[in-house]
Subunit: 334 residues, 2 copies
């Protein structure tokens, strides 16, 4: 019922705790005979080291915290999977936290993770917690940022070039002859939203197309907002001929609205989305997207974090900033 302890192992073997620890961790000196006795006792009692005690004594918990908006999305599962893949290879466990972009939740999780002595953090931060993060980093917490950078925080940051991605998408739409191009943006204030919007704007400007307020619909990354936004877009006297949607989840909402209204794609309206979900090829019609290398982002994030964790023990290392370039995947929706 109760977990056996090292002390019990030692007693069983007729030796001391110190001896047992040495044998099990392979350091210091011990005779072959002692080794055998300890190992037998371990076997007999089915002893397992207590990670908690080890963590209290030593310096690391072999746990890393991951703060994302929500795992129930298209982007996050692959990202988290990648992080876990590289982390587990080095014996790290992953503590998953869903923040919903809520600063209160973010702070609470951050505080709790700090109290739990995680070895490091991978965070996709909302603007409200920038200062808190800085404080944690100053306190020595290894941190890697994903998807969004924090001004003035010199830690590894893995992002996607959202502006370029949006720019490519909208430019492509323009090259197809579109002039009335709508955008459904992400949550206001979030860096990715702003950059995608900037790319949209830039493409329009470069082609001498004036910005039309009516074509800018503010979304929040969630499905229903995009669904409603498309409704509003379609109700205008001068309908757009194309729509750029700022993330996968909203793409679903937009497509749904279009389907219900019986709008023919791409004949009556073209659409392209940011983020390339699994379902894009089997959508009606196959959905054109801006693809970001999600798994690679997770991999890089965790690799960099592991490096930071090492560095925290040895000496500082310059923070690497990686900005991945997204691709256009043109299918049949535009």
């Amino acid at each position: 019922m109760k977990k056996p302890t090292l002390k019990e192992v030692a007693k069983e073997a007729g030796l001391s705790v110190g001896m047992a620890s040495r044998v099990l961790n392979g350091y210091g000196g011990f005779s072959e005979e002692s080794r055998k006795k300890i190992l037998e006792a371990v076997e007999k009692l089915d002893y397992r080291p207590n990670t908690i005690a080890r963590a209290l004594k030593g310096k690391h918990t072999k746990a890393i915290g991951v703060l994302i908006s929500t795992i129930a999305s298209v982007f996050s599962p692959t990202l988290v999977r990648a992080i876990e893949d590289v982390g587990s290879r080095s014996g790290y466990h992953l503590i998953l936290c869903n923040t919903d972009e809520d600063p209160t939740k973010e702070q609470e999780y951050l505080a709790a993770l700090y109290e739990r002595n995680v070895d490091g953090l991978i965070v996709s931060p909302s603007p409200k917690i920038h200062n808190y993060l800085k404080k944690m980093v100053k306190g020595g917490m290894p941190l890697v940022l994903i998807d969004r950078s924090v001004h003035g925080l010199n830690v590894p940051t893995i992002t996607v070039d959202n502006e370029i991605g949006a720019y490519k998408a909208v430019t492509y739409l323009i090259s197809q002859g579109h002039k009335r191009i709508a955008i459904i943006t992400g949550l206001k204030g979030i860096m990715t939203s702003e950059h995608r919007f900037a790319g949209y704007k830039k493409a329009l400007e470069e082609n001498g197309i004036p910005l039309d307020e009516n074509l800018i619909q503010v979304g929040d990354f969630r499905r229903d907002k995009a669904y409603d936004a498309v409704g509003r877009l379609l109700d205008q006297k001068k309908r757009p001929t194309a729509i750029f949607v700022s993330n996968e989840t909203m793409s679903l909402g937009a497509l749904l609205a279009l389907e219900e209204r019986g709008v023919k794609i791409p004949e009556q309206l073209s659409i392209i989305g940011f983020g390339d979900p699994d379902w894009a090829p089997i959508a009606n019609p196959p959905f054109s997207t801006v693809r970001q290398p999600t798994y690679a982002i997770g991999t890089l994030a965790c690799e960099n974090l592991l490096r930071e964790i090492m560095a925290a023990e040895r000496g500082k290392i310059p923070a690497e900033n990686i900005c991945m370039k997204p691709d256009l995947v043109i299918r049949k929706s535009c």
Copy 2:
């Protein structure tokens, strides 16, 4: 740089550690003056309790482990989100483990989580680790099973009635006049696969339709297997007129293959899938499915686990077995 300790707080306040602990945890007696002094010291040093030390002393870590096949799927993110939602409400953190149905990984994670002293486990187990799980439960580890039950293990188990779900789907297909109905099964040996296959068989039998080996394609839950399976199905001289697919990810593969081959759905072939992904409504054509209450499963699993954890401290409670009934969602693919 270093985390301040309770001892330092006490010193700063000119009191003892015992005092500080009492104030911070609100038990025993202390004067208003002492309370103030401690709180001020806490504030000044920005003290945070050390969860590790607390866990070593006390009995729980406020962490639960979740073992699933992979978070990068359609089903898992919602499930995990639900678990985290109810767990976090009670201050539990969630450690996420991807096993890929690999018994070795499962055992390693289980062992590591045990060493880490998690307070409980939510597991979707492969058959190979049934014995190991039994051992853990005997050792006092609170456990809840999801999606699959383990024979002879008396712990709360939240499942879906996979047989009924498949039965309903295939019966519906038959009611539409289909006689040559294919199935793409899940991974062999996994309980959900077997039950879905059983439902398929039962529907056929009840309607006097003989089982045709050629129409039974063994999949493994992954996309490519289903893609290939559809190819094989289509290459037969006597093509099926309908297909039942055993999970969401394979549905994607099947739909993709059908699309590439230019098969008209539902005119030339009907298809229905187990699991109702987000994209079902915007697929081409809108995809009919068997819907399972994923979020509810996660909620129930975690609620039951929390109850088990309580019970482990106080006294045993009879294990609840919950089997959720899935619904048919008929859209346009059959």
